[in-house]
């Protein structure tokens, strides 16, 4: 995941790479995602989440579009 100064810089990069736009989050939204995702990573009995659990973390943050789906065929 890359960081861009602005939409203009992101669009310029996408054009240069001929890439499709994925999903864009503000720094505040990414902070909420980072907190939710990494809250338990250092705990002694941490276990990797099942994709359904990971999807639940994303959905709880309002990331509910197909882009954020972790299960099923694209």
């Amino acid at each position: 995941m890359l960081l861009f100064r602005s939409e203009e810089h992101l669009n310029r990069w996408l054009l240069r790479r001929r890439s499709q736009r994925g999903a864009v989050l503000t720094l505040d939204a990414t902070w909420e995602l980072a907190k939710a995702w990494y809250v338990d990573r250092r705990l002694p009995h941490w276990r990797a989440r099942h994709p359904a659990e990971s999807e639940g973390v994303l959905r709880a943050l309002g990331l509910e579009s197909d882009f954020w789906a972790m299960q099923g065929a694209p």
């Binding site: 995941m1 100064r5 890439s19 902070w31 995702w37 197909d66």
Partner: protein, 153 residues
Amino acid sequence: MNAFQPLDQVDAARVFVYSHTADDGLPPSSATIADHFGCTAADALELLKAVAARKALTLDPATGEIWMAPPFSARRTAFQVHGDRTSWWANCSWDMLGIPATLGVSARIEAHCGCCDEPMHIAVDAQRGPVSGDGLVHFLVPARQWYRDIGFT
């Protein structure tokens, strides 16, 4: 899982990796892990494989050493996070915020724009999150494909 259940060796290794990285700034080498656990470097590499099999680490395919202990990176990246006493490399722009989030610390982030490589500075408060600096985080790869090639993601 019962929080009072003793840690197995694989979990103990993961805890050590994260503790060392938090204090030192970089994930430990197999030699450092061997010193800590009183085993050989070869045993330490096997231990790292076991930790990686639990999806806690990504290993360098050439050396077997730690490449990523998310959100931390063992390699220099475009995302450096500075705490009061230690600095860390983050794997990506999500992880640059994941480091202060997982450590519960305030931090200064030095990053670079993915388009023009110009420096970007972000201040993060441990409680409030980003308090200065602008930027947009772009997720190129859909979530269900994140782990197909984590290096690219």
